[in-house]
Symmetry: D2
Subunit: 304 residues, 4 copies
């Protein structure tokens, strides 16, 4: 079965009507997204692009942006980052404070909110203009200068972000945040507001499938060893307290966002992005999880 | 660099003298093992066997046995097993009771003690002679009928196993254990006492590198999909609360035991076992972790 | 208003029909008790006995027995007891294991199950015939040799006591239990099975209202300082995770049991016992709590 | 032994030199207080005032202020307050976030920081000029118009109060804070900064020993039932996670602050304040605890 047929099969199998997932309601702007949006884009290292549905429509990538900021932060501070953030799965929901309390303000990993806020703090320290430079980085990965923040989303998030303010101040009390709380949060809300389509996300994540090099240009963006480690992190920590489930069913490193997007990579094979805003109870796209499980089943390929 | 040269390089780099790990002391029989034992065996899917050091000496495989019992249990009850055990990383040490309390007696995954005890309970229900049938299964995987339990280890473990008795009774209070506590524990202590060498372990685990088929005979032992899922579980949960660290540094699915053994597989490439009894603070072999990190670095191969 | 009028008023106000509490179901023998039993007995230090309802009917005192065993244990080991049990309220349900995990096998206080099991272990160490000697002690307090264990209850409890077996073994793994698990549990199940009426309980607890002396004989049973401390413990820890609520509403030191009994004392004033088997969600007698709140309101007397 | 002799005996027994406690260092202004300050003031309901040492020197009352604000808040919202704050001991340190997470933003009691912040939020809602009106209330209780906030302390606390900002925002995310975070915190830091001497504190707390009436004027300040409940709360929750210990050793309702002050009351007998800035590991004045234990031992009086 060729890739496009596989994607078509997946599209047919996904049952939007009986999906029990719910569109994220915690910020008003996200709640406006139509529940029945659905798209998927597969970018193969040797054989091009395949897609279906709303694969060209931009959505809020939310936590998927944590992969981009982590990549940038590792560039600047390398393994020193791991003094301030751990690399273990959390076993708790994405915004849990309990763990921080038991572990003295060191977040479990860079993909829970607390960890991503520490990463954002690192970038605010090291970048002259963090928002611009992050945008440049993502645009470079996508070879597309139109990618941008969605200011309405960023504003909406800031207005209801009490829990993030709590996390920041709590970590600051453990001296694990160095910059001004508001400045870091402004950067963080912007990174989460990045608007990208499945096609753009798949293209951006190809660097993780291609051992750190941009596929089109062959240019090295990230060290091979760093890519290996980031993929490992996505594998064990990319899906909040459902990372095991995703690994178990899909068997690929990946990252989800509450906008309903999921990106995954199969090293040396492909990167893939899927979007459906209806989230399961753990905050991951329900149809997105199904689509990727179907993909690895139908291709007979997973990293395991 | 050929595989034997890589193993030689690893052997030279491992620094036994400066290793800060400690031999497991929680049962007297394990504490007797000489700290400076060190062996490694690599079994490649296409190109044979490589080894160094004490790779032919048998040791107590302890928690590595949980992979064998899980494979057997999945044969009998399939996906029904997941009603009684979850597939998420635990974020807690291997014998934590806290999580069981918050999650009503459902262990986080089959590789923490609580989960392995539920798996043992399943086997006691479904096997006529559990100890004999587990032994038959492992002997089949190794094509070696001399593999056996170490009764002294099993007895020693039973004599100090208060925490396991606690776990069993606690889960029984949640009705997640069906058989007599003592009978299940007797089976469990025997599985942990299995004595195997690195060479034998690498051979037994080849089934997970070879998509469920025995390499020598081509005989299917486990379904392909089941192997994929078991590898995913080893990836996210195989190293207690250091699973992230192992994944991050080594990038292979694997399983460790407090006897100092670690087995890992690279699907379609190789299985590998390493043994050094000096454990780090998390209960995993310190030099074993180093050896495997070195291996994936030197071969330039990891699943990521 | 004289005391008997106050008790009559309380009896009228208690609304058995609309009580939402439920008879304890966790052991079959307890579940058989008629839900509508209700009795109360007040024993005043200066002015005799008052009662209503089923105040002379025996019921299973369950956790109320923890006060008797604590008094006996303090006699033998004095303040050394507090190396093995703390004196802080638990904030968790009565059979929580989480706290033990974080606090290395030291129970929060002697009135949660774990703490009472340590106390039982102390008595098994120090008494030649623990069951007989506890009975002698309670009979002495009541001046009544007919008081006895209810063997059916003890047996029923033993048959379903997985959680207590778990607690015992868990604490034994921390070396906080010295005797054989089964022997201690046999003693513990017997202490819980003590069958006493409200009248008998009020009489037995008079020693805590009367600064350690038996009221009828003037004989010193417990040191004044020890009584002060035991009353303080009943105040802060006598009602599982509802100790604050009881203190807040009733304002007396007391102890409840899942048999539906509650005993409380007002030092230098009275001891009082009430019984109604319908338990609220926290495991305390709903009408019993109401009756005692009414009592301190109507008498205008509380320790605060 | 008369009261002044008892106080003299206490003063002699307290061993400042061997006290292992440490002056609170978490805000710079508190750290400046000389460690060897020590004073005590006893105010008897029938027989006047007794004191020793630095009993007339003002210090920062810190958490003791939570009793004043609670009294005021209960005036305004009565029992409705308990929908937003519970009355159970916490079993956790005073600034724990874990409990809030498990209990959906409802603080365990009004004397942990989270609970006091909710109380402050209530006052900001109901008082036109909260800072002025709180001051008026305390001045009334003391019959002393010179009592005032210490602006340096308030400012110092605000500058390092990341954990309080975290608590506030976290509770706001659960909709348990209604006003502007900064406004409530400004009020809270001021209440904690109240500067009072032992003599003034003992006088202010006489209202809790005297069933709600001012002793000098006979004027009712608080309802009798409300005083009973507030005393019960001080008994079970007044000393962070050392409430049981204080109850056990001292046997009086009381409240401590990290400034080194402790106030306690014996209903119908006396109120008493002691000050020594050297805190034990739980954050309570070490010598203060000793002094009060000595007091109830020497007087032979406790509520138990």
């Amino acid at each position: 079965m060729d890739y496009q047929s596989i994607l078509n099969t997946i599209e047919q199998k996904l049952d939007k009507r009986n999906c029990k997932g719910k569109v994220a309601a915690y910020i008003p702007e996200l709640a406006k997204v139509p529940a029945d949006k659905l798209g998927m884009h597969l970018y193969c290292i040797n054989s091009g692009h395949y897609s279906f549905g709303d694969s060209n429509e931009k959505f809020s990538i939310q936590s998927i942006s944590k992969v981009f900021t982590l990549a940038l932060a590792i560039r600047f501070v390398g393994d020193k980052l791991w003094d301030r953030v751990d690399v273990e799965p959390s076993g708790d929901p994405f915004n849990s404070l309990t763990q921080l309390e038991y572990e003295n303000g060191i977040p479990r990993n860079p993909f829970i909110n607390a960890g991503a806020l520490v990463v954002a703090d690192v970038l605010v320290t090291h970048l002259e203009n963090p928002k611009k430079e992050l945008l440049d980085f993502v645009r470079q990965l996508c070879e597309d200068d139109t990618i941008d923040y969605d200011e309405r989303i960023a504003k909406s998030e800031a207005a209801s972000g009490y829990r993030n303010v709590a996390l920041m101040n709590y970590m600051k009390s453990f001296e694990n945040i160095n910059n001004d709380v508001d400045e870091v949060l402004d950067f963080y809300y912007h990174q989460c507001s990045l608007a990208m389509s499945c096609k753009e996300l798949a293209k951006a994540f190809m660097v993780f499938a291609n051992a750190g090099k941009q596929l089109s240009t062959g240019k090295r963006i990230l060290g091979k060893q760093k890519v290996k480690r980031m993929n490992a992190l996505m594998q064990t920590c990319g899906f909040y307290d459902e990372a095991g489930e995703f690994s178990f069913k899909v068997g690929l490193p990946g990252k989800s966002g509450v906008g309903g997007g999921i990106v995954a990579v199969h090293p040396q094979q492909y990167s893939v992005a899927v979007w459906s805003p209806m989230l399961n109870e753990k905050g991951n796209s329900e149809l997105g999880m199904d689509a990727l499980e179907e993909l690895t089943t139908l291709t007979g390929l997973s990293i395991f």
